[in-house]
């Protein structure tokens, strides 16, 4: 076997042949090169496959449009015109015209030649002219005469050329007269064909482009977008559009596209096309399309799909199950294809965040550069820290650039809700977090400094043990304290509270419960509180779930406390958000009677207090309060200036799975959580499963739903249970995922303008004080009017509701608003609901002022409207209009005797309204204040008084404004 080797060894080195060795290795080298090229071109370029698929689909979709466009064409007319066009073109190409054209060319050349010759001649004329003038000055008459003669001769030459040019141009004109009609006719016929063809040529062009488009990487470079681990800036490169090519192509949206996917890329589609032909296939494919993608998001269930398919198939209905069987195995792949090529689902959002500028990974994350593999491109690999954010978790990225925004609706509902829940559940009270508005440093829940005067120890005990069992609306979590722990806490609170020496002002007549109900329902309590008749919905601190639910109070609170509270909430708790509704003592008595009426007793747990006076026992209660962080949400005597109890969440969103403690939780619990959330339509984000089913999303959801689930005998956990619903936990998890402190280069950040800041703090302000419980502002809020509709039994509840305050900044004078916010006085005599006295601080009033001005595009500053002077030219007309329109029929002035008079006192206008506002208001009141009783006197800009001020409605509105602004005396504010 190795004989040849032996033989070779025995051959002298000089005589050995290397040809075979060289041939072998060249072969290996050749094959390796071939493989490298193959691998480079094909295997490692899966995107090429996507691009060709994309262009194929594009050609199909354009083809469909083209066929439609061609259908409506007037073919005969186009044919006739085309015939004429080719005839005319043939004529143009014919010997007759061509001869004329060549003549024209010759004449044109002649013009050029003669022009050159004339220029030569002219320079010679100029030269001899110089000699003539020069010699004349030198008094050399003979030379001068000779030069002059020569000049004249040369001038004749020049003029001869001039004449020749003119002659040639004349000839060109005459030739043009033959050519122009023909060429114009060609253009004209072409234009007619174009207009008759409509979009056909454009579509044909697009199809050509799509057919011949080169396959190439499409990338966006974000200069200096990122920062490396060493703090150096680096650019980010996103190549997502290499595969996701249809993101802004409207062809890849809608039914045609979806049906195209099924027809082209599913075996069920191919089967239907093959067996039934294109025409009969269309309705069947339509059913499959709806079964998979749905109409308006509603996909068909399997049984629905089957019956729909049977009716589409008609006599071949037995085929339905065959088709569905083929189809069921391919669904996921087809949905995937739609995701790859489909248009971005929120195109209006995309308009504001152009991917050509901001890339894709800035919101979606993923490994933007990777192209070699789908999973890698989306960042689903073990060592890539920013995998694609799937499901609603992508909303967390808004925060990266728009930190501090109060609201991300309507584009990002989940993070908006999650952020609100995070605030309303008081999460920030225990967890440090950078993203909390200023006044959130105030305590979220009721003050407990003087709680012993409000609640009995037995109530406190039962409440602490099981808050949501006693009031399903509460946001108070369950700290799962033992009986002894709860007893100790109550003991501490009672002793600390007694030391405060607070004495409630219990002075109010014993009231009438029925009257009290009426007062409560009319004065505005229902703006913030739910009652048995008007139960609150949801646990966000909004609308009537803002304040505590007013049920079960009889066995809960004491009458003296309630009376004092209703009279002046700030007496008991100076920091409370509960405003004063300026109730009279009689009203207070009635409301207290209603709220404390019998039959509303909560069920208390049986418990005996034996150590309420025991100081040492109180100290152990303080230890429990420290351990469980009650002081985070409640103000408690002795717990001032405590630090936040728990860990910071500022970068929680980027915690790795290895950084989370999983305790002893069984594996199958993890997968069940995922399955459950997917089944209720709240899919958790996708992770790669490095360790079984452990990932950030599952951990967070489990923790929120059951805060002590990861507890072990080594690790004590004390987080309280908020009894979160699935959607509450999901929304908060979306928000938590956003807490990543992601670095974004300054040029990409939302730098925030003064206006945006004013809007954001204003939105936080109106939410913090629940202004939106009663008022509609910026299109939201004002839900109290739904309750007013029931209580007043009026069809036009809006007219009985607090006003829409969106226009406030343009409407009222700044000084007046400051005064009104500090100490409100009634404007609308027919309203029973009252603007409460909130006791706003100066800084809060300023926030409100800036907010209302910002909504209206105005800026904050000291302004005075005292200098307003009426236009004398309008005065007489104004008076006539004021009488004619019978303004005072509704706008009673002076003391209001009859509340059915239904309109604000016009004497208030002078110190309340901005002069520019009144004509705006008169133009179309209903457009500004929906449901207002104020009619428009100028419908469609037409005045009913054509004889006054020339019938000019603009002038008339100003004239009326002048009258109104002159009424009454300037009130000092």
């Amino acid at each position: 076997m190795f004989g040849w080797l032996k033989k070779r060894k025995s051959t002298p080195v000089e005589e050995r042949s290397y040809a075979g060795v060289y041939a072998f290795w060249s072969g290996v080298l050749f094959l390796t090169t071939m493989w490298a090229v193959w691998n480079e071109v094909s295997t490692r370029r899966p995107w090429k496959e996507y691009q060709s698929q994309f262009y194929e689909m594009k050609v199909d979709l354009l083809g469909k449009r083209l066929a439609e466009a061609r259908q409506g064409l007037d073919r005969d007319a186009i044919k006739a015109l085309s015939k004429e066009l080719s005839a005319t073109k043939a004529k143009w190409e014919g010997p007759e015209i061509q001869k004329v054209i060549s003549e024209e060319d010759r004449f044109k050349r002649e013009v050029i030649d003669f022009t050159r010759e004339r220029a030569n001649a002219k320079s010679k004329v100029d030269a001899t002219n110089y000699l003539y003038e020069h010699n004349t000055r030198l008094m050399d008459a003979a030379e001068a005469a000779a030069s002059r003669k020569e000049r004249t001769a040369l001038e004749a030459v020049m003029n001869a050329f001039e004449a020749k040019i003119e002659d040639a141009e004349r000839k060109i004109d005459s030739v043009d007269a033959i050519l122009a009609p023909v060429s114009l006719h060609i253009k004209d016929v072409q234009a007619q064909i174009d207009s008759l063809s409509g979009p056909v040529p454009v579509l044909e062009g697009k199809i050509d482009i799509a057919r011949t488009a080169p396959l190439e990487i499409k990338q966006v470079i974000l200069e200096a977008f990122d920062r490396s681990n060493w703090g150096m800036t680096k650019s980010r490169i996103d190549r997502c559009q290499t595969c996701h090519m249809g993101w802004n192509d409207s062809l890849f949206l809608g039914v045609d596209f979806e049906e195209g996917i099924i027809s082209k890329y599913s075996s069920a589609g191919a089967y239907v096309h093959k067996n039934y032909g294109a025409k009969a296939a269309a309705p069947v494919i339509g059913v499959l399309q709806q079964a998979l993608f749905g109409k308006e998001g509603m996909a068909l269930s399997d049984s629905e799909a089957k019956s729909a398919l049977e009716s589409a198939l008609g006599k071949n209905k037995d085929d339905a199950s065959t088709i569905l069987k083929k189809f069921s195995g391919e669904k996921e792949r087809l949905i995937g294809l739609k995701k790859v090529f489909g248009t971005h689902p929120q195109l209006d959002l995309i308009k504001k965040h152009n991917p050509e500028k901001f890339g894709c990974t800035s919101c979606h994350a993923g490994q933007g550069m990777a192209l070699s593999d789908v999973e890698q491109a989306h960042g689903f690999e073990e060592h890539w820290d920013a995998p694609l954010l799937t499901s609603h978790y992508v909303e967390g990225s808004c925060v990266n650039c728009h930190a501090g925004r109060a609201e991300f609706a309507p584009y990002a509902q989940w993070i908006s809700t999650g952020k609100k829940l995070f605030q309303d559940f008081g999460c920030y009270s225990c967890h440090d977090n950078v993203d909390v508005p200023d006044f959130r440093t105030m305590k979220q829940a009721a003050s407990l400094r003087r709680v012993a005067s409000k609640l009995t120890p037995s109530f406190m005990f039962s409440w602490i043990k099981n808050p949501s069992g006693m009031n399903p609306h509460t946001r108070m979590p369950n700290s799962m304290l033992s009986d002894d722990q709860a007893d100790a806490v109550v003991t501490y609170l009672t002793q600390a509270s007694d030391a405060e020496g607070y004495v409630p002002d219990a002075n109010a007549p014993a009231g009438n419960a029925a009257k009290g109900k009426s007062v409560l329902e009319h004065v505005g309590c229902l703006g913030c509180h739910g009652t048995k008749d008007f139960p609150a919905a949801g646990r966000l601190k909004e609308g009537n779930s803002f304040g505590p639910h007013l049920s079960g109070l009889a066995g809960k609170i004491t009458r003296p406390w309630l009376v004092d509270w209703l009279k002046n909430p700030k007496h008991y708790s100076p920091t409370t958000r509960m405003p004063s509704l300026r109730l009279t003592d009689a009203e207070v008595g009635d409301v207290a009677a209603y709220l404390l009426q019998d039959g509303d007793q909560p069920t208390l747990l049986p418990h005996e207090f034996t150590r309420l006076q025991d100081k040492a026992w109180a100290d152990s209660g303080a230890k429990v309060i420290t351990d469980y962080g009650c002081y985070g949400c409640h103000s408690i005597k002795g717990f001032e200036d405590r630090n936040k109890l728990s860990v910071s969440l500022a970068e929680f969103g980027k915690k790795l799975v290895q950084q989370l403690s999983w305790g002893t939780i069984p594996e199958d619990t993890l997968s069940k959580v995922r399955e459950h959330f997917a089944s209720v339509g709240l899919p958790l984000g996708k992770s790669i499963n490095a360790h079984h089913d452990e990932d950030w999303y599952t951990w967070t959801i489990l923790k929120l739903k059951n805060p002590r689930i990861f507890q072990t005998d080594q690790i004590v956990q004390r987080m309280s249970n908020f009894s979160m619903s699935d959607s509450e936990a999901y929304a908060i998890s979306v928000y938590l995922r956003s807490l990543r402190k992601t670095y974004v280069a300054p040029q990409f950040l939302d730098q925030g303008t003064a206006v945006q800041t004013a809007l954001d703090s204003g939105r936080n302000f109106v939410r913090w004080n629940n202004c939106v419980g009663c008022h509609k502002v910026e299109g939201a809020g004002g839900s109290v009017s739904e309750r007013i509709k029931v209580i007043e039994n009026v069809p036009d509840a809006l007219a009985y509701s607090p006003p829409i305050i969106t226009p406030e900044g343009a409407k009222v004078q700044e000084q007046w608003l400051t005064q009104f916010l500090r100490s409100p006085s009634p404007i609308r005599p027919w309203l029973q609901i009252r603007m409460p006295t909130f006791g706003f601080t100066d800084s809060m009033v300023t926030i409100a002022q800036k907010y209302f001005l910002a909504i209206q595009g105005q800026t904050w500053g000291e302004k005075s409207y005292d200098s307003f002077t009426p236009d004398p030219a309008l005065a007489a007309g104004g008076q006539i209009l004021f009488t004619k329109f019978q303004c005072i029929k509704c706008h009673q002035m002076g003391a209001v005797t009859d509340v059915t008079s239904l309109a604000p006192n016009l004497q208030l206008a002078r110190s309340r309204l901005k002069p520019d506002w009144i004509p705006e208001w008169l133009r179309d009141p209903n457009a500004i204040q929906q449901g207002t009783r104020m009619p428009s006197f100028f419908p469609d800009g037409q005045s009913p008084a054509p004889d006054i001020l020339g019938g000019d409605s603009q002038k008339q509105m100003k004239a009326l404004r002048d009258v109104v602004m002159s009424l009454g005396k300037k009130k000092s504010v």
Partner: protein, 256 residues
């Protein structure tokens, strides 16, 4: 002379207020506009009567109209009553809006050129209930020498609210969507209200003093007929009419 006729009008109006439920209205039985699409040779007619069962509600105290001197003057001797359920002498209901609710889908009917008129007279709306076609002109007149505002509070149609300070002033409006019913009110005089049924075909009627209605010129077919009363709600009835058939139907509302 003008003063005298006004006085006369007031007296006559007053008479009807005290014996009936309001001035006799021209019963709005005409189908607005002829339909070219309907073959006259086969057209059918539905007639009917809306009865009332139970005790007619008492008309209560007269409306307080003192707030407006003009209204007070006009009703000095003829108090105004608010009668949302208006029972005729023959135990039938007045002011019930009857219309074809379903069965005409997809059909188009020519639009009448004449407009529907609503008049504010004697601080009341005349008529109190009426029908109008989508797109048909509504001419709103103020015959009183006082300010009225007509506030249409449609839900599907846009709300409008127009002040009419001049006597005999006319404003024209129209509705662009079907709506049963668009309520009207005058915010100056809180007792004034009216209702418009906006439909997209000519098959509607309002019952008058004898509680009857006629819907003529219908293409043969099966229809859902609906009757709306402002207090007692809506009743529906399926009616099939053959070519040239004249069908009589009866509906009864029970008192509350």
């Amino acid at each position: 002379m003008r003063k005298f006729s006004l006085l006369l009008a007031v007296l006559v109006t007053g008479y009807f207020f005290t014996v009936g439920c309001g001035k006799k209205e021209e019963a709005n039985n005409e189908t607005a506009g002829e339909s070219a699409a309907v073959d006259a040779a086969t057209a059918a007619t539905i007639t009917g009567k809306i009865s009332f069962e139970g005790t007619a509600p008492s008309k209560g105290d007269p409306v307080k109209v003192d707030a407006d001197a003009k209204c007070k003057e006009m009703h000095a001797s003829s108090p105004l009553y608010n009668t949302p359920v208006c029972v005729n002498a023959n135990n039938t209901l007045k002011n019930v809006f009857v219309y074809v609710k379903a069965g005409l889908e997809g059909k188009k009917f020519p639009m009448p050129t004449e407009s529907v008129e609503i008049n504010q007279q004697g601080c009341e709306y005349h008529p109190h209930v009426f029908g109008i076609r989508v797109g048909q002109k509504l001419s709103i007149k103020n015959s009183d020498a006082t300010l009225h505002n007509i506030h249409a509070r449609g839900v599907t149609n846009a709300e409008f609210n127009v002040g009419q300070p001049n006597q005999n002033m006319v404003t024209t409006k129209s509705f662009d969507k079907v709506e049963i019913m668009v309520p009207f009110r005058c915010d100056v005089h809180s007792w004034m209200n009216a209702f418009a049924g906006v439909v997209d075909h000519p098959y509607f009627a309002v019952t008058g003093d004898d509680g009857t209605f006629t819907i003529p010129n219908l293409p043969p077919g099966t229809y859902t007929l609906a009757a709306w009363q402002e207090k007692l709600g809506t009743q529906e009835l399926s009616v099939t009419v053959a070519a040239k058939e004249k069908k009589d139907v009866a509906l009864t509302f029970k008192g509350q």
